[in-house]
Subunit: 304 residues, 2 copies
């Protein structure tokens, strides 16, 4: 299972009562933060999941509302007594951004490890047992959409395990995908595990216009967190011009990609009541929810 918490839902600038868009992902007690705008450390504290277990910060892009909170977060993580390296991941330019922003955080009690993604093609890395994918989207500067996928291995075939005379005490290790040595022979997990089952897929996408590649990339997500800068369809022209989306455009992607659930985020400061537009958005994709600061959910494997 994976825990997800939407720390904030605003775009452009932090507001009284609305933090900037950011998501916290927790799996196996370790955490990944996606985007870190000014003030993100405050809802992070409010979420109550702690700071020390954040192993990576993923940046969609380097506009201020997605990155300005980095130096403060790094200092606060430092105060949490973390000493293990922290990984920062983002499109090209990461080194320059981190070097610039850490001018006011020159001495941290842990190292930073930087991973610059291509920004031009689909990338994939592994972290904390999750597969992190990314593709470039269509914004005013290079911007990435991220997917986080937690694999689920095949079902344990108890009949096969008995047939192979595997001692019961090794079942759990094999279920967890580990090779074991028993009675002088090597037993591989694939000998007793069925075909890989559907895992859990979360996608985080902001800031962009809709693209076909995006539909393909977020296909069948269990949770699709997507920007909806504008609630009203009347703001479509503004959305096109500023390279953002309306609620119904986000819902169209969710529908085409057959995701399970859509959380809208990254609202324009002028959009004070996102829920006003939920009916027309649900008419396009019924599984839509207008995200709110600190909205959290635990995603579990499908029952089989």
């Amino acid at each position: 299972m994976i825990d997800v918490c939407l720390l904030g839902t605003g775009g452009v600038m932090p507001l009284p009562g609305r933090w900037l868009s950011s998501a916290l992902i927790r799996y196996n007690g370790r955490m990944i933060l996606i985007d870190c705008g000014e003030g993100t450390q405050v809802p992070l504290r409010m979420a109550g999941w702690g700071f020390k277990a954040i192993d990576a910060v993923l940046f969609t892009h380097y506009h201020g509302d997605h990155a300005a909170g980095l130096p403060g977060l790094l200092l606060t993580i430092g105060n949490s007594e973390r000493t293990e390296p922290l990984t920062l991941i983002g499109p090209p330019g990461l080194g320059e951004v981190v070097e610039g922003l850490t001018v006011i955080a020159p001495e941290l009690p842990y190292n930073l490890k930087l991973i610059e993604l291509s920004g031009t093609e689909r990338d994939e890395i592994r972290l904390n047992g999750l597969i992190i994918g990314s593709i470039p989207v269509d914004h005013t500067i290079t911007c990435l959409c991220y997917s986080l996928y937690l694999k689920r291995q095949g079902k344990f075939d108890i009949d096969m395990a008995e047939k192979l005379n595997i001692p019961v005490q090794y079942y759990r290790q094999l279920q967890n995908g580990c090779k074991v040595e028993a009675d002088g022979r090597v037993i591989k997990p694939e000998m007793v595990l069925g075909l890989e089952r559907k895992g859990i897929k979360i996608c985080y996408c902001t800031d962009t216009r809709p693209t076909e590649a995006l539909v393909d990339f977020v296909r069948e997500s269990d949770l699709f967190i997507c920007e909806g800068m504008y609630g009203s369809n009347e703001d479509l022209e503004k959305a096109v011009q500023k390279k953002h989306m309306t609620f119904t455009e986000a819902a169209e992607i969710a529908k085409k990609a057959r995701v399970k659930e859509l959380w809208l985020t990254h609202y324009s400061p002028s959009l004070t009541e996102p829920e006003k537009y939920i009916d027309e958005t649900e008419a396009v994709f019924p599984g839509t929810r207008t995200g709110t600061d600190l909205l959290a959910k635990t995603l579990k494997y499908n029952q089989e």
Copy 2:
């Protein structure tokens, strides 16, 4: 008169319910911000004085909790349609800090003008009709205490004006310190103004240990905004070690300097109830107030 608003009162990191220490000063419709930690733009919005009229940001020093909000503030001021240059003032290193932090705010619709103070001696500059003074204090890195002084000219001597046959329509200009030409002769304000009277003095001081120079510098302030990182005298050792002050140390300075009013600020995150220590602090200096976020006051000239 001058309006003062304490935007936040926290040290180290922004907290749910407590913004980082910063003060906004308004005089004649123009504004000066002192320090800009992460999130400062949010209470700035809550104060309701706007963004566009901020002409200068003064930095006491470049620790993250005093400077990390700069890029976000610059972007938000940009959104307020400001086009006049904005002045940034601080101790040595300002250029490097601004260059680093603006890596995520590369295109602003106005220019930045940087003024680096010496950091080693008393400096004085004039801005918006205010005299801004600074002295170095005693912190872990170079840090400045600021004074803002609004001069008050002498009383208008109506008898003298009549004696000199100055037409009544020029009185206001002369009262405002302007030279006028009337009936072919030049009349200087000093001809009809008495001796300069006491103006309004505000001092802002954080982060530091007490120093003798500080007492001298803040002498007879109308308002002395001063750090009180620790409420309890039991934390004195910690204050010495981290180069901060306890409430009573701040009150001692206020008392020695015979200021009118002391507002405490820059509380440690562990200091959840500053008002718990007000009695023992008032015992040292009765005019103490434990600052709270958005505490505001209008300072007027003394009645004469």
